[in-house]
Amino acid sequence: MTEYALILLSTILVNNFVLVKFLGLCPFMGVSRKLETAMGMALATTFVLTLSSVFSYLVNQYILAPLGLEYMRTIMFILVIAVVVQFTEMVVHKTSPLLYNVLGIFLPLITTNCAVLGVALLNVQEQNNFIQSLFYGFGASVGFSMVLVLFSAMRERITAADVPEVFQGSSIALITAGIMSLAFMGFAGLIKV
């Protein structure tokens, strides 16, 4: 049990995918302008990332490894992620129109989120088993969601703040992200995983 708690803690804080590993920066900058959309994106990513982490583990373990095709991982994982995203979109659209309205536009965007592919590939690299992959994917997505929501809340306040003219817009956002990243680097000594 401690092992799984450590995986969660590691992926959420210590090795945060956005601020420490620098994966998934595009949606981090792109949809963080409003808190509402950031929450939608965070929810959608959590869902897809956890699923695709598990599915890509299964594909790697039971299809690629027995056939000795490990070098085809990247393209296989991209295929798996795209299918999971599409499938999720259809199921959500059918079963919960309300959730679909919240996630709607963000679901297709996740296909190109490199954090999703990053998690799938890192699962293999770290030789995680099924449950570990599940927790690794979930932790990564919770970490992503947390910093995305925090960052968008900050950006909402920054738009109202008196920012010097040269720093206005994206530059102050990037500087903020950099300072957040520095802060998260402070977790580095917390645990060893």
Binding site: I75, L79, V83, F87, M90, V91, K94
Partner: protein
């Protein structure tokens, strides 16, 4: 090499079948309520309900943001049909949005007075007014929905309403009394 190609092809085909199947299994026919409301509205896109067109108004009704009595072109028939669909009380037309017309009207521009200011062109929701700056404008009668939105902006009051008298080509049989002729789903 062959193993790779075959494996990838099999997996891709499997995923393709899965997605194809789920596309049929989980098919959704839009938002049924919005579409049903939209089917009842007269589709004049006149904007008198304060929404940008009939579909936005239908969405607003479905969300509960708008009342069902904001559509002057539809008049009482549309209100009754909407009340029937949404199972709410029939309420009289909100006079803020305009009055019901006895018969179909269109507008025409008094071309001697028109100064070519283009204000009425901007107001027209269906692009039925033709003209350019400082040139005379004219109304394409077959496109005009009779919403009268172009009349208030005109600075020289050169736009007038006229009733459409049916000709042999445009005459239609009267709609049945009391019934509503819009297509019903199901």
């Amino acid at each position: 090499m062959m193993v790779v190609i075959i494996t990838l092809a099999i997996i891709a085909a499997f995923f393709g079948l899965l997605l194809g199947y789920s596309a049929i299994r989980f098919r959704v026919e839009g938002d049924p309520v919005v579409d049903k409301i939209d089917a009842i509205l007269p589709q004049t896109q006149c904007g008198q309900c304060t929404y940008a067109g009939c579909h936005p108004y239908a969405e607003a009704i479905a969300k509960g943001e708008a009342d069902i009595n904001q559509c002057p072109p539809g008049g009482e028939a549309v209100i009754i049909a909407l009340a029937d669909l949404l199972e709410v009380e029939v309420i009289p037309l909100n006079a803020e949005h305009g009055e019901v017309k006895e018969s179909k009207t269109v507008v025409y521009i008094d071309e001697n007075t028109c100064i070519g200011c283009t204000l009425c062109i901007q107001a027209c929701p269906v692009d039925a007014i033709l003209g350019a700056a400082k040139h005379m404008h004219t109304v394409i009668e077959s496109e005009c929905t009779g919403c009268d939105l172009c009349i208030p902006p005109c600075p020289v009051d050169c736009i007038h309403i006229k009733a459409v008298t049916p000709t042999l080509k445009t005459w239609k049989w009267h709609r049945p009394e009391g019934g509503y002729a819009a297509p019903r789903a199901g």
